[in-house]
């Protein structure tokens, strides 16, 4: 699976770079500056770190529908989507992703008092549902999410750990290079944006291969 995701990454390198320049880097920069602004502006009792956590989550999951489409059209040998189509895919599903993830995040926050069990479940759902958000019918979307959750159950948490740890690892490795310089907000923000632009497509291609139901069914039938 990892090999295939590298192959897809390699094949669409120029498209991925274009999308990164148009969407991923500005989005990351915007969310990063928004967190800094909130930290300056808010008092401690307003919990700016919770907003920061939400921004980081949103930064990852609202890019999923776009890259999922790219990966799926490659895996199913469909016509390559153009850059404009991918941007439209992002814009179209942004509202839905936001609409579902905000309540899930709130439930996860409130559920922290219950030994983190609701938080883990909500995190798993938040990771999975953007892969099903392209279904036009909301009911079908929910059943697809449910079936993925049932099939993968505990391993989704492992995926969550992979996503988080890969990001932290790469971010900290790159920060090592800048450690000796005089750093400002901008350096951190731009580094973050570049890391996101390079790492997210790979992670999402990998996860798409794991979660997309029809593809897996086809593969089992072929065997």
């Amino acid at each position: 699976m990892i090999k295939t995701s590298f192959e897809i990454y390699n094949r669409y390198l120029i498209k991925i770079m274009m999308i990164s320049v148009i969407i991923v880097i500005p989005l990351t920069l915007f969310l990063y500056f928004a967190t800094i602004y909130l930290y300056d502006f808010m008092e401690a009792d307003q919990y700016p770190n919770l907003y920061m956590l939400f921004f980081i989550i949103i930064n990852f999951i609202c890019l999923i529908p776009m890259y999922r489409k790219l990966a799926e059209s490659d895996l199913e040998d469909e016509e390559d989507p153009t850059i404009w189509e991918l941007i439209k895919e992002f814009l179209k599903h942004f509202g839905m992703v936001l609409f579902i993830s905000v309540p899930l995040f709130l439930i996860g926050l409130i559920g922290m008092s219950l030994a983190f069990i609701p938080t883990a479940i909500c995190g798993a759902i938040m990771l999975v549902f953007p892969f099903a958000v392209h279904y036009l019918d909301i009911k079908k979307m929910l059943t697809a999410t449910g079936s993925i959750l049932k099939r993968e159950n505990i391993f989704i948490l492992l995926d969550l750990a992979i996503v988080v740890s890969a990001q932290i690892l790469i971010y900290s490795l790159i920060m090592q290079a800048f450690a000796n310089f005089e750093n400002s907000y901008y350096v951190y923000g731009i580094t973050r944006a570049l890391v996101n632009a390079t790492v997210f497509p790979l992670l999402i291609f990998y996860l798409t291969q794991r979660y997309t139901v029809e593809l897996n069914e086809q593969r089992t039938e072929a065997r």
Binding site: Q46, L91, K92, H93, F94, G95, L98
Partner: protein, 125 residues
């Protein structure tokens, strides 16, 4: 008939527009504050008035109306929770806000639909 998904899509795209527009304006300091507020109002409810009918062809006006109401409720909630302005203490302001936003988005939707109709007729001929 009424597509809930179309409504959510329109609101999401409109939010992206607002964020993008305000980010540009805020970074480059282009306008004075009053104009920022006014132009944000036009951008947000105007875009919703155009996009909601686009994804809800069978019930365009309802879509525009609901999208405007939901957007203003989101705005109220944001100013209540994040900025801590007690907006709900002033029912008159809430009413003005809702009324102006819905009226503006309905007017935009009306103009958009009329223009679309004209253009559609020209294409048919």
């Amino acid at each position: 008939m009424f597509h809930f998904r179309g409504l959510i899509q329109a609101i999401g795209v409109s939010l992206v527009f607002i964020i993008f527009y305000n980010f540009i304006i805020g970074v480059f300091n282009l306008l004075p504050v009053e104009w920022v507020v006014l132009s944000t109002f036009f951008v947000s409810y105007g875009s919703v008035g155009i996009l909601a009918p686009l994804w809800n062809k069978q019930a365009p006006y309802t879509a525009a109306f609901f999208a405007a109401v939901v957007l203003s409720v989101i705005n109220l909630m944001f100013s209540m929770i994040v900025l801590r302005i007690p907006v709900l203490f002033e029912p008159n302001t809430v009413n003005e806000n809702l009324l102006s936003s819905t009226v503006f988005s309905l007017i935009t939707a009306f103009l958009f639909i009329q223009i679309n109709k004209r253009m559609g007729r020209e294409h048919d001929d």
